[in-house]
């Protein structure tokens, strides 16, 4: 056995790595982290499978998901994980690109560091380069006119489809990009993400997935009597409650002293009366469908069944919120004074079989500010990955709707930026020139990786692209399907410009941060185990002594 590894020298207490050596060491670590997601990029990108210690496997193509599951402990590596996460939160897509950008920037400047260029010089030039690149993107981006409804829609669909092309769903991307756009179009101006419910049912074909413009959720746990309730309504009134409709002791700690036996009956009657009053008032309000966040017991179920009403208890709060949004009405925490005004309605309510499950569907809603995606697919892992991919697509559509400018994907924008920065670098004197050209070179990592993943000759294709861009064909990028280059704007491979702006800014900021570190001091509790502090989860965190 080889000698036990010295856990990062600087972590073990003796700070013999600092300054230049530390920067280089950090850069190397970042390269390795980036390697984990490198091959996921593009339509020919591959997936990663991670198995955790409980044996649960996750299969994903999503950069942020992979980074999260890698469980990186290296401080510089963690920074890359963070930018992937923030890209995911901010834009929702381009998480792999951002990591690749950052790693490539670092790789390009490693030589300069080794040769003794001061990190601050690099940082300064990087900031300048990013600024220029972002401006250039803004200048190049093609605005979409919002008033042109059909045009806007096709732009959105293309953006979604570009995102999906690298995922498992790529063969059905037309279908799903339409779905993603439809889903987002249903929402109101704020585009709240939680108003799109995603339900997963294994089994079925991908294209059996459906978008319910309304709400759908799984049949809740039901008590005896449920089967006798009607399962289909036209224009029912819906009451949304947060009340427990169960026969139970009204007050938790109350105790009754019964003086004589006759009183027994009275108390029991009183208890029933409380429940019946509640039920009666719900019934009187005219509601036909009763939904509650809290359980609805057997007595209530049977009572409703007797009166041809439908009820479902223990509905997840998210689903109830979506029902509120699409059917109107408001959640009641008391059965008193239930009036028609607080009830929602929908055109059609039905319980239907989907795969092996029974689902409740609320459709033809008057407000329709919420929708539900019912995803079907072979296995659980497959559907999970589908959900992540659709999430990305939905985020992209949302972003594109807010910032209605697009650029061509498939490496086209990167090549154009690279050319622009190279040209710019030649106009300035000093070290900056070198570093900005390094930045320009680093931008080419995306098209190069796209080629490599598809098994193309990247050097050759990049040269062709450089030539095209030098001739002024600014939208030329890689066409993975024909193993050549093509005008990707014409080929409808579009991405919202914001994705690129955000990716570049985040990546260069992360680089600057990594470069500006020259010493690392690590408090290790007890021994010099690198992992020690994190090995005890939650210890002393947020808990006042």
């Amino acid at each position: 056995m080889a000698p036990a590894p010295i856990f990062l020298a600087f972590a073990s207490g003796d700070n013999d790595v600092r300054g230049k050596q530390l920067v280089i060491s950090n850069i190397n670590a970042c390269q390795i982290v980036a390697d984990a997601v490198r091959t996921t990029l593009g339509p020919r990108g591959m997936d990663k499978m991670m198995v955790d210690s409980n044996g649960k496997a996750v299969i994903s193509n999503d950069g942020a998901t992979i980074m999260k599951l890698l469980d990186v402990v290296h401080p510089a590596g963690k920074m890359l994980v963070d930018i992937a996460k923030s890209q995911d939160a901010e834009v929702g897509d381009g998480t792999t690109s951002v990591v690749l950008f950052a790693a490539e920037f670092l790789k390009q400047v490693k030589n300069f560091i080794e040769e003794g260029v001061h990190p601050q010089v690099i940082i300064k030039s990087f900031r300048k380069a990013t600024e220029l690149a972002v401006e250039k993107i803004k200048e190049l981006a093609i605005k979409v006119r919002k008033d042109d409804v059909a045009g806007l829609r096709s732009v959105l669909e293309r953006c979604a489809s570009t995102t999906l092309s690298s995922k498992l769903l790529s063969a059905n991307r037309d279908f799903f990009s339409k779905m993603a756009v439809d889903a987002v179009m249903v929402l109101d101006e704020l585009l709240p993400l939680d108003m799109i419910g995603i339900k997963k049912i294994t089994g079925g074909n991908l294209e059996d997935s459906l978008l319910v413009s309304g709400v759908a959720f799984k049949k809740a746990f039901s008590y005896a009597g449920f089967q006798m309730q009607p399962k289909h309504f036209k224009n029912p009134l819906i009451s949304i409650l947060n009340i427990e409709l169960e026969l139970k002791s009204e007050k938790e700690n109350a105790e009754i002293r019964v003086e004589n036996v006759e009183e027994y009956q009275k108390i029991v009657d009183a208890e029933w009366q409380i429940l019946y009053d509640k039920l009666q008032s719900i019934h009187d309000s005219g509601a036909k469908v009763v939904l509650s966040k809290l359980p609805i017991g057997d007595v209530a179920t049977q009572w409703f069944a007797d009166r041809d009403m439908f009820c479902a208890g223990r509905i997840p709060i998210d689903d109830l919120k979506r029902i509120q949004k699409s059917c109107g009405g408001s959640m009641q925490t008391s059965a008193q004074k239930l009036t028609k005004e607080v009830l929602g309605t929908c055109g059609d309510f039905e319980e239907r079989q989907v795969g092996g499950e029974r689902y409740n569907f609320f459709t033809e809603c008057p407000l329709t500010k919420a929708c539900t995606l019912v995803l079907r697919g072979g296995t659980e892992q497959f559907i999970d990955e589908m959900e992540r991919s659709l999430h990305d697509a939905i985020m992209i559509v949302r972003r594109a709707l807010k910032h209605d400018a697009v650029v061509a994907g498939g490496g086209a924008i990167e090549m154009e930026l690279s050319k622009y920065l190279r040209d710019f670098a030649r106009t300035i004197p000093g070290k900056q020139q070198l570093i900005i050209s390094a930045y320009a070179r680093a931008l080419e990592c995306i098209p190069r990786q796209l080629c490599d993943n598809a098994g193309f000759d990247s050097t050759n294709i990049l040269n062709e692209l450089r030539q095209k861009h030098a001739q002024g064909a600014k939208w030329f990028g890689i066409n993975v399907f024909t193993e050549g280059i093509a005008d990707n704007y014409a080929a409808c491979i579009w991405e919202p410009s914001l994705v690129k702006i955000n990716a570049l800014t985040a990546a260069s900021e992360a680089c600057c941060q990594i470069l500006s570190v020259d010493e690392l001091i690590k408090h290790s509790k007890g021994g010099n185990e690198y992992e020690a502090p994190d090995a005890l989860p939650g210890r002393g965190r947020g808990r006042p002594g």
Binding site: A29, M228, G378
Partner: protein
Amino acid sequence: MAAMGQLVFDEFGKPFIILRNQDKKRRIVGIEALKSHIMAAKNVYNTLRTSLGPKGLDKVLVGPDGDVTITNDGATIMQEMRPSHEIAKLMVELAKSQDDEIGDGTTSVVVLAGALLEQAESLLDKGIHPIRIADGYEMAAALAVKHLESIAESLTFSKDNVGALTDIASTTLGSKVVNRYRKELAKIAVEAVLSVADLEHRDVDFELIKIVTKVGAQLEDTMLIKGVLVDKDMSHPQMPKEIKDAHIAILTCPFEPPKPKTKHKLDVTTVEEYQKLREYEKQKFEQMVQQVKDAGANLVICQWGFDDEANHLLLQRELPAVRWVGGPEIELIAIATGGRIVPRFEELSKAKLGFAGSVKEISFGTARDRMLVIEGCPSSRAVTVFIRGGNKMIVDEAKRSIHDAICVVRNLVKDPRVVYGGGAADISCANVVAEAADKVPGLEQYSYRAFADALEVIPLALAENSGLNPIEAVSEVKARQIKEKNPRLGVDCMHKGTNDMKEQCVVEALIGKRQQILLATQLVRMILKIDDVRLPGEKED
């Protein structure tokens, strides 16, 4: 590259740690990962291959507690195998989702996926990019499914004309251990589904079909009860064993003095008071029984129990009762008899009672256990399949088989289109895909051919399991299909002397077959797309 993930050294020769427990994690990348996945999938597929078809053999699975399962059902085998390999687990899920969605064809889907992966392996060796293989498969699958739809025939059936449905159900049962008795079981399955089916909405609620098993007697004694079977007996041995024209009160409240839910306390301080309490309880019982009688009920089914005193009283007042009936059964009884579940005695009324033509207690052999059969209900929307059999394993397998058959019939109620079985549909698709292969430009051509080859694996396995010479049998059928343009020709597994599956009545639901092809392709794509696997290392303890 493969060694990466263990330890990394920087320029200064120092190792550094990037991931938690990095030295313990294992990682496989690139083609090596793909090969190992395909290997695992092939293992699973080889296990299942031999249980395909009417002459397929069963597997014995011994669980961790020593319990034995004998089955031919793909999904059950897969689940009981409990593989530890990730890809094998995916195959299990695949079988499961076919089971959830269609309920039948679980073996075929796994075999198809395995065959596709096996073919992919040789394509990978040719140096084709895995995603292009998957793309090709998907295009081929789309073509195959389209072809399936074009050769599908629509089945006509109605509540009175069930011949076609029975044929299909018996095909499904053909491969199971119960095939000796498959005609009768098929009839039971069809009748069960049709009695609960909503033919207008094409909806079948499975919760209305209950399958009850009991070891003993023979498979032939399996029957369909148009009503409910409850594994309970009358609360008192002297109560009548059979009640005609039963008016049933279905109660979810116990036969005892009402108790408040709120915490309460009663202090009994004197003897008189104690007497009063006794008196009160007795009076309550009387009152309750009277309420039931007043409503006109002659049978009480109670979700909860009652004590011996109440029991005695009920006997005295000639009111037969059943106690401790579970929630789902109560519900089924209510649905079948058209009664309402009554939560308290005060609410009992004539209108809320259920009606059954006969309620009978039946006993089995010499065993002392009895069951209650509620039959002759006004709405037969709840049915029970009562399975008998020589031993537990047979009964369990029969249950699974009937479940499969019921699922198949349900699928046909949903979508009445069928394709012919015995490998006929597979061979027909394979022919079409192989023909199309020559017209496909680009590398996908190879995937098309591989896909066609993989489709032939099912008929090959069928032939092999039936003791035929697989290559000979399949190639003959293939040639005839092309020559006669007859997609109904399949492998003659039963040695009946004809290859026309229409004559043999071997049919499968279109949605089942379609689902198999799509699900298998989907899974294969997923597996082919993985090029990097990170596994946690061996645990230290």
